[in-house]
């Protein structure tokens, strides 16, 4: 049985790829991911803010209070080298490349078209096989139009793709009016892959401290539905590989993703919740399903239930919505049933 797949021009032994998460920060867990059978690894993200903020912070604190008072002209020893921004990240990629044999995909997260984009090149030079560009933008200005936001995305993608020679995949959110058109334009700027979707982690309110607090909730399988639909719709309609990155928790999810048309399926929450050993288990589940349904390869599976191949294209469209609503019933107690 052939589990291999191609993603961004890379040969992967199977379609299960740990997505950017804290698991890739540590070399030990990174090696364990590879040993567990991952097809490739997306490294944790290097953030634009991180790059800039580290520099700004270092500059501020090395300058703050200096050259003011004759007895204390500085407060820290003179040091030649600081690992600011990407230094340790780049070393980590280089070390990963030396330590594991599966493809290593760097991850860069940002939104402005600034100096941080240069770090894409450095990630390439550090040995990454490909780059995942994660664009995460929350518009808050009512005067900023959708067109402006989209143009900003495309500009960043173009800049990054022009900066590197390795293939670039774009990870983006599902909040576009026309995802197919946006996906198409992203590929036109040079994206070789689309990673669907970025989860916009929603902040929570601490009503004791009266503060807005970051709150991370791990995904579950039900969240697969959204990327599944768009994967199915985009399959073969755009000139890019597709990775599904939300809601992959078991072999069934992987199967669904590939049937929809994904080149790879990415997993993170499941591994964080239940451990790296879930990789071989999920792969076994995939294999078992393929045996049961007599598929010989992942390539054979890919896209067989996509929008263009499914017997019921309407299921992905508005008709599905109507169908769902009509299937809803209420019992005498008021409880809802499908």
């Amino acid at each position: 049985m052939d589990l291999s797949t191609r993603y961004l021009g890379l040969e992967l032994k199977n379609p299960l790829v740990p997505s950017a998460s804290p698991l890739s920060k540590n070399m030990d867990s990174l090696k364990r991911l590879a040993e567990a059978g991952a097809g490739a690894i997306v490294m944790h993200s290097l953030f634009e803010e991180q790059i800039n903020a580290t520099s700004m912070e270092l500059d501020h604190f090395l300058s703050h209070g200096t050259e003011s008072f004759g007895e204390a002209l500085s407060y820290f020893p003179d040091m030649d080298e600081f690992e600011v921004g990407p230094d340790s990240y780049l070393e980590h990629i280089a070390e990963a490349k030396n330590s594991i044999s599966i493809p290593v995909i760097g991850s860069l997260n940002g939104i402005s078209n600034g100096g941080w984009i240069n770090y894409a090149k450095l990630i390439e030079e550090a040995g990454a096989d490909a780059l995942e560009l994660n664009i995460y933008y929350i518009p808050t200005d009512p005067d900023q139009t959708s067109a402006e936001v989209e143009a900003n995305y495309l500009e960043v993608i173009k800049s990054v793709c022009e900066t590197v020679n390795i293939p670039v995949a774009v990870k983006f959110g599902a909040s576009f009016s026309s995802i197919p058109n946006m996906a198409k334009r992203m590929t036109q700027q040079g994206a070789k892959g689309l990673v669907m979707f970025n989860r916009f982690y929603q902040p929570d309110f601490d009503i004791r401290a009266m503060e807005v607090v970051p709150h991370l909730i791990l995904s579950n399988s039900s969240e697969l539905r959204l990327p599944l639909r768009w994967t199915a719709i985009l399959y073969k309609k755009i000139a890019a590989d597709i990775a599904i990155t939300t809601g992959i928790h078991n072999g069934t999810d992987v199967v669904k993703g590939i049937l929809a048309g994904a080149n790879i399926t990415m997993v993170a929450s499941e591994l964080l919740l239940n451990g790296i050993d879930r990789i071989p288990e999920i792969l076994s589940e995939l294999q078992r399903w393929m045996e049961d349904y007599e598929y010989v390869s992942v390539n054979q599976m890919r896209g067989s239930m996509s929008h263009i191949h499914t017997a019921e294209p309407a299921a992905f469209e508005r008709a599905n919505y109507m169908k769902v609503l009509q299937s809803l019933k209420q019992d005498p107690t008021g409880k809802l049933w499908w």
Partner: protein
């Protein structure tokens, strides 16, 4: 070999050679020598090698005494060893120095010579320290400028090895140690050629070795000691010749010529000044100038002061000399004259009485003092001395540079006399410490000094305040001589980087005719003229000045640089000064931005590049109108209510006129009035806290946390507010004790530093907009006028006093906020973590406190002129404050306690003697046995003492007169010993330990910043494991010393560890318990600090994190509780609930290590976390233990 030319200061020059030529270096921080230790530590961490390919071992010691002992031991064991120090630090080395010299041990101590603390401490330069140790038998070689520092570091090292006499290599503190100059760096090959390997081997062979044992350090008796002491004579006799020949050898290698005594001037000079140190360069340059005008004058620069060679000195003087002035940069009260003067006289007399005297008749010799504590020494003063020598009876024992109107020692001089040449660019920059002016100027010196043929020099005058600090940079560039060790008087470029300075200081006084002025102005070129003070307009007209403006803050802000206008102003300087072609200058600025900021990341580099480009676009020349009609005046105004001394003396110092104050204006014994900060009104904040009474819960957190005591709260009768200004805010008091009264919270906007710590600690959020609090930072200007009026009204409202409210315990901040502090408006860093403790402490005990304050931050913001923060109440009572030294503070405070107790004992004896006679039995009994454990009890005792004094008044008997003198001692005094961790953990630990062990009733407050904050953040034993600090550039490898546990071991010492940000009320509890305990107490207070690399406005949050992570558990150990059969240790914080990383990685001192050595930082984090866990467990076990038998001595 290619000559390496670099710009550096004297400290770096000395450290360069010291590092290359030594194997062990023992260091300890002291201004202005600390940077030498810092350089060597940083180089060692970077694995830089010495001459023999090894990285020298750098060890920080607990004191200069400790450093000297370590040096002595290392030398005795055969290693090449050195140290660096100054001032009292050198005196602490003196006992070892005698030993080292007595044993003929080669070493060099590099000294940035500094004033000794006498009537006051001074960090500045003179020779009083090195002159105080001249009897120890060390060679003393004086370098006069930065190049000579590098050269003499090597010559002294070679000389000590060659002669076996230990050497002090001396240069002037600040003037030379901190002056940046363009010099040639000595290469390894030159250094190697000067260091004779045979001599090094000989030194090693004399080292202790069990394979060839000997005994050194014997005790000797009257029979042989004297003779043995004379055995070293020949070494001293031979040394001058050896040094001279080494100087000749050095000249062959470098081309730079030095002699034991260097004469310069007319070969037939009749008048000669003999001098050593940086002042010698000033004399030399003036001599050159005067000689060209035909004056027969000369200078003899003394290089080798010890061993003093009569022969070389006499040979160096021209035969034509008729009169000599010997200038000493020190003072020996009561001596016949200062040391160099006395030696010169002796030398001349010895020569004159020899068989072959040089002179027909002995020249007239006078001695004079100059330049104490870095007092300016200028060519004008030199000229005056020469003129005095021309008179028939020149004044002897004179002073120059001051106006001594008491004993009339001073010589007059013409301050306008100037010898500087036209080929030099002289630029003066007025800036704030926070705006980066000095850093930019240091960069400019590097650009010009290292990238062009021009010579360059920079010297920087700093403020005595740590917040809102002013800096003045003096830069010289040119093809000719720029090595001038005095400040610029006629600048052809003046940069005023703060618009407000125009009103406050006479910034253009030093502008030369037709000079260029660059002004950082919020007003555009076409509007700025009418915003200038009249005096400035007049100066621009009279001197034909060219004026350029740029809105530096706006450009910096747009470039993302915030308030750092350094790059903006530097670019403008190069664009208009003409010191370099503009294009070349801009390219170089960018190159140096890359060099300076590159290691901080590309973001910073690109922001600075952007700032350079924008600066050029926003720089405009101002068309100068013909009329000067401004009504804006200059100078700092002082309230007419301020005392005469403040108006006549303090005001002059603040206005920069301190140099003009005559001797008669100053107290003769260092005694100054307290509470003078309130008159200064520094007006340095841009934004200030504004109170919203409607949502305030009156908790008092802001009042107690304010580091500068500018936020005050009062509760008053509504009637008291009838005459309040319209804008005065108040609200109904929410205190159960003050029903129907009004609460008011007021900010002194002119004293606020804008640190915003008050806003951060405010727990209230506006219900309809949670981003707003009960205090919010808002721009000052719109509210300043009203708030000034409000403050003036507020301060006259009645204040709460503990003694007036027996119903209130004042053990919570809610109540304590209502007490006035006796410590206000200090010049500490904005957001300081120490001063809130002092403010709180004085609220509780201020009117009866006696304070011994260790040298350090708290003695500087507490006692540095011009104004001091320890203050009085309306009755004139307040803390009596004193600073002795760094190392002796516990002992100093103990002495105060003993004196207070002794006086009380004397009063008791007199009462006993007089009771039933002059004094009623009952009054005497009550006075002797008064319960003064509460404020009310103390108040009752005060009333009794008042009655006693009334009864004694007019009585003529001796016991009555005596009791009158001692009566005040019957009222309980609160003796506090205050200092930082450098004192308590390190240099003063021995004394602290002894004082606490003594059982005497002293209270110790350690404000623990975990570094030597005042000298720039060197590691102490209080520094946490893994923190980067100076002297621990690789991260501190050992955990923090647990001072609290050490002191708890005594069993009878009250010990508390507190953190205001974690629990303010626990701090109050600890203060009150410690004070009421009739025995020794120590409180260790977490004090966040600028040296931690934190957002200072969040200092209190950081304190909380320290406690919540278990790093800084808060507790109280009260021996009294043992009497209740309970465990005396009470833990006031809960078990750690956060990982240590959550606390430490908010601080740059820890974070830096993750960026410089990630592997090490991970290891240290793990070790530190284990330490925290184990430490907490240990405390918990101790607190849970069943009570052990009492060890209290009764």
């Amino acid at each position: 070999m290619k000559r390496v030319i670099r710009t550096m200061d004297g400290n770096e020059a000395a450290a360069h050679v010291a590092f290359k030529t030594n194997e062990v270096i023992a260091i300890y921080p002291i201004t202005p020598a600390s940077p030498m230790g810092e350089w060597t530590d940083a180089w060692a961490v970077k694995k830089k090698k010495n001459l023999w390919g090894d990285v020298p071992k750098i060890i920080e010691m607990q004191s200069e005494g400790g450093a000297a002992g370590t040096v002595h031991g290392s030398l005795q064991s055969g290693s090449l060893t050195t140290t660096f120090t100054a001032s009292q630090g050198l005196l602490l080395m003196l006992p070892n120095m005698y030993k080292i010299a007595g044993e003929l041990t080669p070493t060099v101590f590099h000294i940035a010579a500094r004033s000794l603390a006498t009537q006051a401490l001074s960090i500045f330069g003179d020779h009083s320290d090195v002159m105080a140790v001249r009897s120890a038998g060390w060679g003393m070689l004086f370098a006069n400028n930065v190049q000579e520092v590098m050269d003499f570091s090597l010559i002294s090292q070679a000389a000590t090895l060659s002669s076996r006499i230990p050497f002090l290599h001396i240069f002037d503190g600040f003037r030379t140690s901190h002056e940046i100059a363009k010099i040639e760096v000595l290469s390894d090959s030159v250094i190697k050629k000067m260091i004779n390997p045979e001599m090094v081997k000989a030194h090693r062979d004399r080292g202790m070795n069990p394979n060839k044992p000997f005994i050194r350090g014997t005790a000797q008796n009257p029979d042989v000691f004297f003779q043995a002491r004379e055995t070293t004579n020949s070494f001293y006799n031979d040394a001058p010749l050896k040094v001279d020949s080494l100087m000749q050898e050095f000249e062959k290698l470098t081309g730079r010529s030095y002699h034991l005594f260097d004469y310069a001037g007319a070969p037939d000079a009749e008048r000669v000044i003999i001098i050593m140190g940086s002042g010698a360069d000033t004399v030399s340059q003036t001599v050159e100038y005067l000689s060209k005008q035909g004056e027969k004058v000369g200078v003899l620069k003394v290089r080798l002061f010890r061993p003093f060679s009569v022969k070389y000195m006499i040979e160096s003087l021209p035969e034509t000399v008729r009169s000599i002035a010997v200038l000493d940069r020190t003072k020996e009260p009561g001596a016949l004259g200062e040391p160099l003067y006395q030696d010169v006289i002796t030398a001349l007399i010895e020569d004159q009485t020899s068989e072959t005297p040089k002179f027909d008749r002995i020249p007239i010799i006078t001695g004079g003092r100059y330049g104490l504590s870095s007092k300016e020494f200028t060519p004008a003063m030199v000229k005056s001395v020469f003129e005095e020598l021309e008179t028939d009876t020149p004044k002897n024992h004179f002073t120059i540079g001051i106006n001594d109107d008491v004993t009339n020692t001073s010589l007059d001089f013409d301050p306008e006399f100037d010898i500087e040449t036209k080929d030099t660019t002289r630029a003066v920059f007025w800036g704030l410490g926070s705006d980066g002016t000095v850093g930019a100027n240091k960069n400019s010196i590097k650009i010009i000094g290292e990238e062009t043929e021009l010579n360059a020099q920079g010297y920087f005058v700093y403020d005595s305040k740590k917040s809102g600090a002013r800096t003045i940079s003096h830069l010289r560039f040119g093809k000719g001589e720029v090595k001038r060790p005095y400040l610029i008087r006629n600048a052809n470029f003046v940069g005023v980087h703060q618009f407000g300075f125009l009103q406050r200081y006479d910034t253009l006084e030093m502008a030369a005719d037709r000079a260029t002025v660059l002004l950082n102005s919020p007003f555009p070129a076409d509007q700025v003229w009418k915003k200038l003070p009249k005096k400035v307009q007049q100066q621009i007209h009279e001197k034909n000045l060219k004026l350029f403006v740029i809105d530096g803050y706006e450009v910096a802000k747009k470039a993302g640089l915030g308030i750092r206008i350094n790059t903006v102003m530097q670019t403008c300087f190069f664009a208009i000064s003409g010191v370099l072609p503009k294009r070349q200058a801009i390219d170089k600025i960018k190159e140096y931005i890359e060099k300076t900021y590159g290691k901080r990341g590309k973001t910073i580099v690109s922001m600075n590049f952007h700032a350079v480009d924008m600066s050029l676009e926003n720089l405009y020349e101002v068309n100068i109108p013909d009329e000067a009609k401004s009504r804006i005046t200059t100078g700092t105004k002082f309230s007419k209510e301020s005392p005469e001394f403040v108006q006549k003396v303090i005001a002059e110092i603040i206005n920069g006129q301190g140099d003009n104050l005559p001797v008669s204006a100053l107290p003769c014994d260092g005694t100054y009035p307290t509470g003078t900060t309130k008159w200064e009104k520094r007006d340095i904040a841009m934004d200030i806290p504004v109170w919203n009474p409607d949502i305030c819960i009156q908790c008092g957190k802001c009042v107690v946390a304010c580091p500068h005591s500018v936020i005050r709260a009062k509760v008053v009768e509504p009637a008291a507010l009838e005459t309040a200004p319209n804008e005065f805010k108040h609200t109904k008091a929410r205190f159960k004790e003050f029903k129907e009264q009004e609460y008011t919270l007021q900010v002194s906007v002119d004293d606020c530093t804008g640190c915003s710590i008050c806003v951060e600690v405010c727990p209230v959020k506006d219900k309809s907009n949670v981003s707003r609090k009960a205090l919010n930072m808002e721009p000052k200007l719109p509210v300043q006028k009203n708030e000034r009026e409000n403050w003036d009204f507020f301060i006259d409202l009645p204040s709460a006093k503990v003694k007036d409210h027996p119903e209130i315990e004042f053990n919570k901040i809610k109540e304590t906020q209502l007490l006035d502090p006796y410590f206000e408006f200090s010049g500490a860093c904005a957001g300081c973590g120490e001063t809130p403790y002092l403010s709180l402490l004085t609220r509780l005990f201020g009117d009866r406190m006696i304070v011994a304050n260790a040298t350090g931050c708290s003695s500087i913001y507490g006692g540095n002129l011009p104004t001091t923060p320890w203050c009085t109440d309306k009755e004139g009572k307040g803390p009596a404050w004193n600073n002795s030294l760094f190392e002796d503070n516990a002992e100093f405070g103990l002495g105060m306690r003993l004196a207070v107790d002794k006086k009380r004992e004397t009063a008791h004896n007199l009462l006993k003697q007089m009771r039933g006679k002059e004094i009623p039995e009952s009054l005497a009994e009550d006075l002797i046995h008064a319960d003064q454990s509460t404020e009310q009890g103390i108040q009752e005792q005060q009333k009794r003492v008042d009655e006693l004094l009334k009864r004694l008044s007019g009585k003529a008997t001796a016991p009555s007169r005596r009791l009158e003198e001692f009566a005040d001692a019957l009222v309980r005094k609160s003796v506090w010993i205050i200092g930082g961790d450098g004192w308590a953990y390190d240099i003063g630990f021995g004394g602290l330990d002894h004082v606490l062990a003594s059982g005497e009733n002293v209270n110790v407050l350690v404000m623990d910043t975990e570094v030597y904050s005042n000298t720039g953040g060197q590691a102490s034993k209080a520094t946490g494991l893994g923190a980067i600090a100076k002297f621990a550039a690789g991260g501190k490898p050992t955990p923090k010393k647990d001072l609290g546990s050490i002191m708890m071991n005594y069993g009878y010492v009250y010990v508390a560890q507190v953190a205001m940000g974690a629990n303010e009320n626990q701090v109050i509890k600890a203060f009150k318990e410690a004070e009421s305990y009739e025995g020794p107490s120590i409180i260790i207070a977490y004090s966040h600090c600028i040296a931690h690399g934190i957002d200072m406005s969040k200092g209190m949050d950081q304190q909380k994190l320290a406690t919540d992570s278990g790093y800084w558990p808060i507790y109280r150990y009260d021996p009294r509780i043992r009497k209740e059969n309970k465990n005396p240790l009470q833990l006031d914080s809960k078990p750690p609930k956060l990982p240590l990383a959550d606390y430490i990685y908010n601080e740059q001192r820890y974070k830096l290590l993750t960026q410089t050595n990630p592997g090490k930082s991970r290891q240290y984090l793990e070790e530190a976390q284990n330490w925290v866990t184990a430490h907490w467990k240990g405390l918990e076990e101790l607190a849970e233990e069943p009570e052990a038998p009492s060890t209290e001595t009764e």
